[in-house]
């Protein structure tokens, strides 16, 4: 029974596989195939992200109310510290500064938590990766999507803050949608990049909080970059303002806050916002795909 029959005798494993059309198990699919597979898993990606989101607060007594209460408390703390105690607005009107600050915090948190969950997307889900077949990019994409859903809850708080400080809904609020789409593309790309890096070096999960905090302070979450750097050469402010986190924060503020006009935005702001999104979404996806067959290695 177990001895090979004569016609196949003497063939090497590779020749035998070729003869019967067997494929290498766990080989990396081509890029178009990979995109198709990922699209085929869209329901899983969606279900996984909202399941993670729901599971987060399922043991709390207030349950899903925390989705809104958490950002609300966050906003209150930042308001107390930076608005009342430190007065970091530097001459900015309170009606502008408070929504300015809260927008900055929420928008930056969106990118920050996408990166942090991206780092652990593969390395924290090895059990899943080693048990089932699916394009591995499903995980980082799904985590980025979870953060987007989280941000949408935060937007409820943000709208309330904006209205409370005198910025009422108008035509410019429509711009929120393209800003969110672009930032989501950027975040997803970033999550994909860090998912691959984190899969190889799980230690990044320890290191990244420091990097992210540095990035936060350099992006003008609590202060206006042009006002703070008024006496420095213009190019420094430009570089800081063109960094993707600052770009998306500024665009969101511009869309939301009545008195935060276009004079606060750097040149070519929409082109830069789109450029970052496309560059990172495509670059991150290809970079992640390149190591597809290696995820889950012990």
């Amino acid at each position: 029974m177990s001895a090979p029959t004569s016609p196949d005798e003497g063939l090497t494993a590779a020749q035998l596989a070729a003869k019967y059309g067997l494929a290498v198990s766990g080989a990396r699919p081509s890029l178009p195939d990979y995109v198709r597979q990922l699209w085929g898993r869209r329901h899983f990606i969606l279900a996984f992200s909202s399941a993670k989101l729901t599971a987060q607060y399922s043991q709390a007594k207030l349950g899903q109310l925390w989705q809104v209460a958490t950002p609300l408390l966050n906003a209150a703390v930042y308001f107390a510290i930076f608005g009342l105690i430190l007065d970091a607005g530097r001459g900015m009107d309170k009606d502008v500064y408070i929504p300015f600050l809260v927008t900055g915090v929420f928008v930056f948190t969106f990118t920050q938590s996408s990166v942090m969950s991206g780092v652990r997307a593969i390395s924290g889900n090895l059990g899943l990766v080693r048990a089932l077949h699916f394009p591995r990019a499903s995980l980082p994409v799904s985590f980025a999507l979870q953060q987007l859903q989280q941000l949408l809850y935060s937007m409820i708080v943000l709208f309330a803050v904006a209205i409370a400080f005198g910025s009422y809904p108008d035509a410019s609020w429509v711009l929120i949608v393209p800003v969110l789409v672009l930032q989501f593309c950027f975040n997803t790309g970033l999550a994909l990049i860090f998912a691959r890096a984190g899969a190889k070096t799980p230690d990044l999960a320890q290191l990244m909080p420091f990097v992210m905090r540095t990035w936060m302070y350099a992006s003008g979450v609590m202060f206006s970059i042009p006002v703070f750097l008024a006496d420095k050469p213009q190019w420094i402010a430009n570089v800081l303002q063109w960094n993707p986190a600052a770009i998306y924060m500024d665009l969101m503020r511009f869309a939301l806050i009545e008195e935060y006009g276009s004079q606060n935005l750097p040149d070519h702001v929409w082109a830069v916002a789109g450029g970052w999104a496309v560059l990172f979404a495509i670059g991150g996806f290809v970079y992640f795909w390149k190591a597809e067959e290696r995820y889950g290695r012990g």
């Binding site: 177990s2 067997l22 198990s25 599971a55 899943l128 077949h133 070096t201 230690d203 290191l207 290695r297």
Partner: protein, 259 residues
Amino acid sequence: MAEQAADRRVPTVIADDVHIVYRVNGAKTGKGSATAALSRIVKRSGDRGVRKVHAVRGVSFVAHRGEAIGLIGSNGSGKSTLLRAIAGLLPPESGRVYTDGQPSLLGVNAALMNDLTGERNVILGGLAMGMSREQIKERYQEIVDFSGINEKGDFITLPMRTYSSGMQARLRFSIAAAKDHDVLMIDEALATGDAKFRLRSEARIRELRKEAGTVFLVSHSNKSIRDTCDRVLWLERGELRMDGPTDEVLKEYEKFSGK
């Protein structure tokens, strides 16, 4: 089997000198702090603090259509690891595994979340295994009935963490067994629960086995291997110690393990 053997035997899985190595971080001098991580990245000495575990060492075999193959060996001999490599879930360090179609591991535990209701877990687990929403809708009632979760009241709408461990195992198995497979791999620890459920799940495994082209079964029960497999691979310390007809290999194995 006899007419198949006389006919041409079609290989479905070929393992060619497969080696699998696990790398365990922090098992030597592991300092997990951020500064240690930074210095490790800067120095590019990735091997520091990493211990290698060579779990499978150069295993080769050819499996054919219609075969049911048992994997035996003591704990930690590399059986489950080898299954994962065949399924393409654990990339081998060196060597190759060729397969016909996509082998799948029977099991869905890792995709389920204890904080979600049984209902949502059925959907999530089905999607994770690659079923479509329509397929899941179609089989939903079947899965719930099979698990018997609702026999004692409406438990399927409660979070899974509220289930007893037996009930959790039943739901997991019911979800995993809802899908048909090409090349099927079964880790025997799956069939758990009370006596009644065990009988039901064993019947379901037999059914799945009939539908699948080639079956791999990992088991510590020589009886279930004898009942279902016509060929046995015996792994010991990651090496293939014996490969042959069930009776022959089991006789040696029993002698080895001193039964």
